[in-house]
């Protein structure tokens, strides 16, 4: 029987924000749901995140930011991924994101924003439904 490839996720902390509880909890939680998760650690530049995503050929890039720098970092990561031909990588975000910023981020290519209180199960379901399909 052909073994199905696990969904591969890169959890990343762009910028100087050190609040990594959410990113780590998500890394544990998605792993428990059978995904392969790589966590970058803190203080990653957009370039570093994109390099890791391409190198590892992940299906999903999860960006976590609680410092208010999301409008700078999230679109930057999306743009750089697109420039490198990774159009089909799913980019999702989380952290302290004011509601009024969510449409801006979506317009710039972040597929979904998950705020505080979101259940891991819901994030997992979202990923499974929206991730790129086998090619």
């Amino acid at each position: 029987m052909e073994q199905q490839r696990k969904i591969k996720v890169l959890m990343a902390k762009p910028g100087l924000d050190g609040h990594d509880r959410g990113a780590k909890v998500l890394a544990f939680g998605l792993r428990d749901q059978g995904m392969e998760v790589i966590y970058t650690g803190r203080r990653q530049s957009a370039q570093q995140i994109v390099n890791s995503a391409l190198q590892e050929d992940v299906d999903v890039v999860g960006l976590s930011c609680l410092s208010g720098a999301h409008l700078t970092f999230f679109p930057k990561v999306v743009d750089m991924l697109r420039e490198n031909g990774a159009d089909d990588m799913l980019v999702i975000g989380g952290g302290i994101i004011p509601d009024e910023h969510i449409p801006i981020l979506k317009e710039k290519g972040v597929t979904e924003i998950f705020g505080p209180g979101t259940l891991l199960k819901d994030i997992g379901d979202f990923i499974r439904e929206n991730v790129r399909k086998e090619t």
Binding site: G15, L16, D17, R21, V25, G29, G68, T72, P98
Partner: protein, 578 residues
């Protein structure tokens, strides 16, 4: 009947009551797995009031840090808890923005020194013109690049609010020496000797490795910088506290109550040891240790017991381990007592956070502290609290303080079978975890190997798993979320003094400020002093504070100094630990 006989009698009667009364009742209501608990003298066998509790303000400080619960007289500008500050944790954009904010707050009769929030580039040792930090300048706090920025901010503090009259708090951990040096240089320019300065830098670098993350150098050289502060502050800055230890961040980062207590005590011990190793008398510097807050949660009685256990544990460590003799060395001085923790607040139906914070404020009074409804209800909504939420939090505190009579009595649960046994339980568990850390060699090795980070992350994941399984309930998040529940929202009526437009412009303005400083200062002298700093940093026993002061006076930037130290100390390899 003697005491033992009495206890045996209670034991017998308790067993009877459980079998014949409690269990049948619990069964009737489907609660046999978790029957309501009841506590008796059996839970605190051997309880000794003087040894275990003591009088408020007396060793072992279980009852309270001080003999009175301070209720400020009602006057204009009085803040609950007796603290008068220009503001809560605040700092916005450029130095000009922050100065203007404090001037505005002064008009609203918020006087006293600032509690400065710094932006992340400053906290992590980068200048505003560094490409790497684009998008982060002036966010979550004010940007400080050079002495010039302090000069501008403190234009809001002159006359009867001058530097020798106010106390300034600065949330800085990795670059405390450099920041305090800038403050000293500013005072000197105003003709105020450093011995008259008052304030508190956070200076709790070890917890930054466990959570929060604003470290620069590895733990060991970071501790050398801490030692320099202990020695220099003790000799020259009697009004500046050495550290403000925070278990709060460790708990918010995921640690359990017991882990937090054990880790923050281990960290405190490591700091104390630095001073002792440097030959400073424990009673000369331990009284200048403060705590900013421990963590909190919605578990009301456990948080009350936790505060009592923490006070007793710290006092025992100081007295028994470090041989402190002064009472002031053994006290936990801390503005915040029990509270719910920001992690307990929800973005969903956020006004509920006001109710939650009131629960925390009541826990604070019952734990032997001052009430403070914290945080304001809109904490999880975004950056920058609304003034409405702040007003409601203040009012909640005032209602408890002035309407309920709760502050007329201190540690009212002393002697409670339940609370005393819970206090013992928490303290014992924390000692056990602390021993584990000490077997690893103490806080520094336990951080270098990632032990504290890993354990905290595991606990965070476990908590989330309990939420997902609905073992831990959060109203509006994992229960009571049906569509017929009303989604209550609130709107801001009073505009925040720091406007959106200013926020977006801040980075550009700050870069221009820095460029101007670099153009007009004596660059040759800066270079010379940086070389001196490098030489000094290479010698472990040299105190770097005087070098930072000389550099501050010449308008050396934060990053210029941090880069020199990065070269000597190295940078902490960023942890992943998942």
């Amino acid at each position: 009947m003697d005491k033992n006989e009495k206890l045996n009698n209670i034991k017998k009667k308790k067993a009877e009551w459980e079998e014949k009364v409690l269990i049948p009742a619990a069964k009737r209501f489907g609660m046999e797995k978790r029957p309501t608990k009841f506590h008796t003298p059996l839970d605190i066998e051997g309880f000794d009031f003087e040894r275990d509790v003591g009088f408020p303000g007396q060793y072992p400080f279980t009852a309270a840090t001080y003999p009175v619960n301070l209720v400020p007289r009602i006057q204009k500008g009085a803040k609950p808890g007796g603290l008068k500050r220009a503001s809560q944790y605040s700092g916005y954009g450029t130095a000009e923005d922050t100065r203007d904010y404090y001037k505005l707050m002064a008009n609203l009769s918020w006087t006293g020194g600032p509690n400065l929030a710094l932006d992340l580039p400053t906290q992590c040792g980068y200048d505003s013109d560094n490409e790497m930090v684009e998008g982060e300048v002036g966010k979550v706090g004010v940007a400080i690049d050079t002495l010039r920025d302090f000069e501008v901010i403190f234009e809001a503090f002159t006359g009867d609010q001058d530097l020798d009259k106010i106390a300034t708090n600065i949330t800085i951990n990795a670059s405390v020496g450099i920041m305090i040096a800038m403050y000293i240089a500013l005072a000197e320019k105003r003709g105020i000797p450093m011995a008259q300065l008052k304030g508190t830098p956070q200076n709790d670098i070890l917890k930054e490795f466990v959570s929060r993350g604003t470290y620069i150098y590895p733990p060991k050289p970071s501790m050398r910088l801490f030692r320099d502060c202990v020695v220099f502050f003790t000799e020259n800055l009697p009004g500046i506290n050495i550290t403000s230890i925070g278990g709060y961040h460790i708990r918010e980062g995921g640690a359990t109550r017991v882990q937090e207590l054990a880790y923050s005590m281990a960290i405190g011990i490591a700091y104390l040891q630095e001073g002792v190793n440097a030959g400073v008398d424990i009673d000369a510097f331990a009284p200048k240790f403060t705590f900013n807050a421990f963590g909190g949660s919605m578990e009301f009685f456990k948080e009350i017991a936790f505060q009592r256990a923490a006070r007793r544990m710290w006092a025992r460590i100081l007295k028994e381990r470090f041989g402190a003799k002064k009472k002031d060395s053994m006290r936990i001085r801390m503005p915040l007592s029990a509270h719910i923790g920001c992690g307990a607040t929800t973005k969903q139906r956020a006004l509920n956070n006001l109710t939650r914070s009131v629960v925390g404020a009541i826990a604070a009074v019952l734990s032997g502290g001052s009430p403070m409804a914290f945080p304001p209800y809109d904490e999880p909504m975004g950056l920058g609290w609304s003034l409405e939420a702040r007003q409601l939090a203040e009012d909640a505190t005032r209602i408890i303080m002035y309407e309920t009579g709760m502050c007329d009595v201190i540690d009212p649960l002393a002697g409670s079978y339940y609370v005393e046994s819970l206090t013992n339980e928490i303290e014992e568990a924390a000692w056990k975890e602390l021993e584990k850390v000490e077997e690893m060699g103490g806080a520094v090795p336990a951080i270098e190997t990632g032990y504290m980070q890993r354990e905290s992350a595991k606990s965070a994941a476990e908590r989330q798993a309990r939420i997902e399984r609905r073992e831990d309930l959060i109203v509006g998040v994992n229960c009571f979320t049906e569509e017929y529940e009303l989604d209550v929202t609130t709107s801001k009526i009073v505009e925040h003094p720091y406007s959106e437009e200013k926020r977006y412009e801040a980075e550009k303005r700050q870069k221009a400020n820095l460029a101007e400083v670099k153009r007009t200062r004596n660059n040759r002298e800066v270079t010379r002093l940086l070389k001196e700093l490098e030489k000094a940093a290479k010698k472990e026993d040299v105190n770097l504070m005087p070098f930072f002061i000389n550099l501050a006076k010449e308008y050396a930037t934060l990053q210029e100094q941090c880069d020199v130290l990065r070269g000597v100390f190295g940078e902490w390899q960023l942890d992943t630990f998942v």
